[in-house]
């Protein structure tokens, strides 16, 4: 897990074409492949030819200035936003455009939002069991048992019967992580999971995420938390103006970024 292990040479990398055939043939290739992806909002070109490969068990941190397209990239990966060009494969399969099949495959991609988005009219336990019962068609008892284990693991089992509004932000975000985990996703997307939290609650959420990374969960995390990136990530992707400007290891990126754009950005966030 340390950066000294090296890992693939990110500047060259294998071509996405190779990666796909490999995945389809063996089921062991990269878990997420983003290939020449474009996205517009009206006139605004928000994603400009994005290419990204995420291996099984890999943790990728996406960092960059506001408005750079980080959220849009996350949302495109589980098709909350449709893309205009290119393709995105999860475990070798492209997500279908619409309908039940999309819903089912989307459950393989967990998503944790900046604003938690727990279902406000359901208890924490109901939030966690809804997907397993309605989407995975698991029995209620089995789902509740699993849900309690997950809540235990994120440290809020004693809040299971409460409603989201009764919990602190940090507790809500941990509940949201448990809700995603309950679907047994292949990959988890985190879109600035700690940005809406009071400072004293940031670490309880980052600790849960670090634990997940240690256990081998594949994760794409939009965050400016440098400590987390250094501790848990194998790769940092710097995004600005809809493009991936730099891919690097966390240590290299934060101490010795290759691009001026990244250096400039880092100098701004590090002065705080």
């Amino acid at each position: 897990m340390t950066d000294s292990e090296g890992g693939p040479d990110l500047t060259k990398g294998e071509g996405p074409e190779d990666a796909i055939t490999q995945a389809a043939a063996t089921g062991t290739g990269p878990l997420v492949v983003v290939e020449h992806v474009h996205k517009h909002f009206g006139e605004l070109h928000v994603l400009k030819d994005i290419n990204l490969t995420v291996d099984r068990g890999e943790v990728v941190v996406v960092i960059g200035p506001s408005g750079g397209g980080k959220s849009t990239l996350c949302r495109s990966i589980n098709r909350l936003e449709p893309i205009d060009g290119g393709r995105i494969l999860v475990d070798g399969k492209e997500l279908p455009k619409e309908g039940k099949e999309l819903a089912r495959l989307r459950a393989d991609v967990g998503m944790v939002f900046q604003s938690f988005n727990l279902f406000a009219h359901k208890t924490i336990l109901e939030n966690v069991t809804l997907g397993p019962v309605k989407v995975r068609k698991q029995g209620k008892q089995e789902s509740e048992k699993h849900a309690m284990e997950l809540l235990e693991r994120v440290g809020i089992a004693n809040q299971a019967a409460k409603y989201p509004a009764q919990l602190s932000g940090g507790q809500q975000q941990r509940a949201a992580i448990a809700r995603s985990l309950a679907m047994k996703p292949k990959v988890m997307l985190f879109d600035e999971p700690t940005s809406a939290l009071d400072p004293e609650m940031v670490n309880e959420v980052l600790d849960v995420m670090t634990g997940l990374a240690r256990e081998g969960m594949t994760m794409i995390v939009v965050t400016h938390e440098m400590g987390f990136a250094r501790r848990a990530a194998q790769k940092v992707v710097f995004m600005a103006d809809g493009q991936i400007v730099e891919e690097n290891t966390p240590d290299e990126f934060f101490t010795n970024a290759r691009t001026d754009r990244a250096k400039d950005f880092l100098s701004k966030i590090l002065t705080h």
Partner: protein, 227 residues
Amino acid sequence: MFDFSAFFDHFDEILQGFWATIRLAAASAVLSLIIGTLLASFRVSPVPVLRSFGAGYVNVVRNTPLTLVLLLCAQGLNDTLHLTFSESSSTTYYWWAVLGLSGYTGAFVCETLRSGINTVPLGQAEAARSIGLTFTQSLRMVILPQAFRSVIAPMGSILIAMIKNTTVAAAASYAEVALVSKTLLDAPTFTGGAIPLFIGVAVGFMILILPTGFFFGWLAKRMAVAR
């Protein structure tokens, strides 16, 4: 002039009229909630045809006087086109009144519910979709339950208006309390004053409607979603 004896002489008929009103109101309450929920689901659905249908229906029905809607049902569809529900004409008129009133009230339920849907933060739908719920499941399990809770009070007002609108069902030949009262008044044998009869019927409506209002007020408080 304020001699209520005529009112009490015909108390049985008036009570029967009220019972007919209650039967009409209860069935229409259920059916208009169902119709309104379906219409609202159409109006927010990703399928353009359903969206257009929902919008078209609401705009036509909401802007048509209820009397016309009920006349169309009773005289147009029933008397002229002979679309009937049962052998008995009173049962048929009852169901046409229920359908007409529900179809009309459903348009208002739809618009109220739609404003409720707009109060549910977008993130709720996104979270629902991200755990793999289909559009219909998200609507049913996440969006509508929250939307309903936020519009309980205005929904109560719609139902109250609907209860009063049952009096228009007289136009659809359905013998609810307003029609009963009119028949009583028109009868040559009726000697009592009209005003006591009106007062009696108005009090009857208040007995029906006041608790409805209180109930919805209580429910709205109890079911509010904390964010």
